[in-house]
Symmetry: C3
Subunit: 322 residues, 3 copies
């Protein structure tokens, strides 16, 4: 899709420019910024690591706003993100990104002495780049559905921080990429989704016909496959095909293991209609144990589709035993 | 390959049109239909869920014909399949497809009240579509090597039905796709292949030079990798490359986990000759425990190649201890 | 990249022609041959299987030179490799390749009576081919980052040999592929990397700006994901994109399970600078248990970058408990 068409598709919810601290953080929030930033923008944000109690920790863009997963961070290839990380906890923590560019100072790894001591504030800088032509080939740029996570709490690989919820989505777009109406982050972390078990897993909601973006991230010690009912995508950088000669596989189920991430966009309920559609890990005993949730596609006017409430109630009944 | 060339390659074995109930069901059957159906065909079939004894259940296209895996169901993008599912068992069952389009009524999930009670007959409708151009990009259609399975027996995710054998291949082709001479379905399900352990795993047979299609499906609670000796394919929708600029990886080993599926075509014995070629899970203790079988490439005239019977005998001896 | 440009990039370290027995074998050796061989070359090598003591076995290109992993074997599509395998051990062994062409005689599998008895010498022949055009599509050739391994020690699937170290990289290039300055082989085998645990895992070294090639291979009974800090690649045959319309995903983390292999090239420290960069399995308890190592990017002149020695020392301290 051309940039013009992308702009036409995109209806900013609050139009807060990326780079401010007002961007909404929750996993199911409507996309809250236009991304209409000039080329080479430097986004300066402050992130707070907070103890949420009960062994859970989160990242947030303002004090008291930490969530699991943390806020989706977004930029375009060519942009820079400077993250002032405020550690409000009693533990060592850090922020380690996948996919983007950083010097050893911003690695987020204790091996490179790159982490926050308890109470410490420290700045991490992530840069991005477009692809570099080599004639026939090109070295890839940094566009992708990436993620960030702690690399210092519990172990030098951040195993304690990740288990506790210190993770979030990181999207680097290429100019011209299609922007979604809604954006969901889904983290398979051990036997949990966003550190929850069914029936408390997130219910992602959209209206019939909206363009929704799923950001899928794997963490922890288990192997998983992510399956979404009644929707499918291409196994590419964006989930779209690049025209009729693109040979990529079309999928509705994909491995999602430690450190992996992928993303895709679908039109909610396209060709299948609104309703309560299940997403789940397709490893059978994982879904049976509660790695399942609902993608609720409402009617186009936002009303509840026939049968959806009954399905939600059944989901709570079926999964109530966990 | 152009459609004309594809037609020239394809030699229908029985020329039964898809949509009848006479299509052969066994995993190793020669392809039994021409797929020479008009655009937008609605295929109406009746499927029977049957108790095969010993804790095994199967899907079949006629009473008493249930197999593990069930019959391969095929259509072209744009077609519709209406499945009248007859539940001859004492359990709740359903049929849930991957990749294709369905309303919540045909989801096959108890959450959407979409399943057969014991003894009940119920119709499920699957639709398909081609890709939708967005200018530069396209939203993918439904072409693919997919699969179907129970989603209601044992648990609300069908874990009991899947373990018992309620699964099969579903192929949605794009017009112009190459049609094979032979078609094999291989389901890695827990520690079994098509619910069998070596040496009782299927021996897939073809003649040297035939185009054979493998449909590979993963199920259950284990992780697996599928490896085929002496043959390779592209990691694409079809297993073919789209010309010399297709950057896709060429593989002979691929992850095959719960809910995953892929397919590919090879020329049996191309450049390597006939013989007994092994396929197996490449997780070592899985192959040692019996997740292995034989792809027997006979001579072009159908006779047994030198050494093949000895290899088959050795396979039965090696694997006889399970 | 065009072949001319590739030649300009490539600086042979010792310019020993492939096909001799002098090629360096160690996992971290600089690339020791020009690959400037004529089309259709037959490479005749002798490989020795040796007992390295302590339950470890290796392949080597000369007596007393066996290593874990074995030497990288390389050829171009269209070449042949004849391997005279000398079994100096008391066990049955073989060599089984992925990706390339062989008759049942060279399968390396006991099922096809293709293995070396203790003390026996036996020749295995591997052939390769380019892709075959089918008009719109093509059947893939044999280019790829493949691997070879034992298929006869311990079990008929070679589980004993693989566990003991009998594996190595096999690269089949297409004419025009970019040649690297350095080449590293990384085998995730059970809970070990190249049969070592941190801090004894290999430290791969390159100078800032060099083109380095990673050959990643999975073996054994565990599931893994390979992650490299501060570098990324395309999920393609080569790790490069084929121009701006290539839709392939860009990744820095990838599943690496039994029998899988992939490879890619990066410019050491490109856009991120020199330093000690970590690579590790991203399954958290695997990295914590020692599946981690260092990719040391030295300054362009080969000197140690600021902070790198301290990072290496910390790595040895952190990981010292294993």
């Amino acid at each position: 899709m051309l940039a013009g068409a992308a702009a036409a598709l995109f209806v900013p919810a609050t139009a807060a420019a990326l780079g401010g601290t007002s961007a909404a953080a929750a996993a199911t929030a409507p996309l809250s910024r236009s991304l209409a930033t000039p080329e080479g923008t430097t986004h300066r944000i402050t992130m707070y690591v907070e103890d949420l109690g009960g062994g859970q920790f989160g990242y947030g863009l303002a004090p008291g706003q930490a969530t699991i997963p943390g806020p989706v961070l977004e930029m375009y290839e060519g942009d820079t993100m400077e993250i002032t990380l405020v550690n409000t906890t009693q533990s060592t923590v850090s922020i380690h990104p996948h996919g983007v560019l950083y010097t050893t100072d911003s690695d987020g790894a204790p091996m490179n002495d790159s982490f926050n001591q308890p109470g410490e504030t420290r700045t991490y800088t992530w840069r991005t780049t477009g692809e570099k032509s080599l004639g026939r080939w090109a070295r890839p740029g940094t566009a992708g559905y990436w993620h960030y996570h702690d690399h210092a709490m519990g172990t030098v690989h951040g195993s304690g921080g990740i288990a506790a919820g210190l993770y979030g989505g990181l999207v680097v777009r290429r100019r011209g990429d299609i922007l979604p109406d809604r954006q969901f982050t889904m983290v398979f972390n051990g036997m949990l989704i966003n550190n929850k078990l069914a029936p408390n897993t997130p219910m992602f909601e959209a209206n019939h016909g909206e363009t929704v973006e799923f950001i899928c991230i794997g963490h922890g010690d288990m192997f998983h496959t992510f399956h979404l009912h009644a929707h499918r995508w291409a196994n590419t950088r964006t989930g779209y095909l690049e025209g009729p000669r693109d040979s990529s596989q079309i999928i509705d189920n994909r491995d999602l293991n430690g450190g992996d991430s992928f993303g895709f966009q679908v039109i909610a309920g396209e060709d299948v209609g609104p309703g309560a559609w299940m997403y789940h890990c397709h490893v059978q005993f994982h879904s049976d144990a509660g790695m399942a949730g609902i993608f609720l596609v409402r009617n186009a006017d936002g009303s509840m589709p026939d049968g959806a409430q009954e399905a939600i109630d059944r989901f709570h009944g079926h999964e109530g035993g966990h």
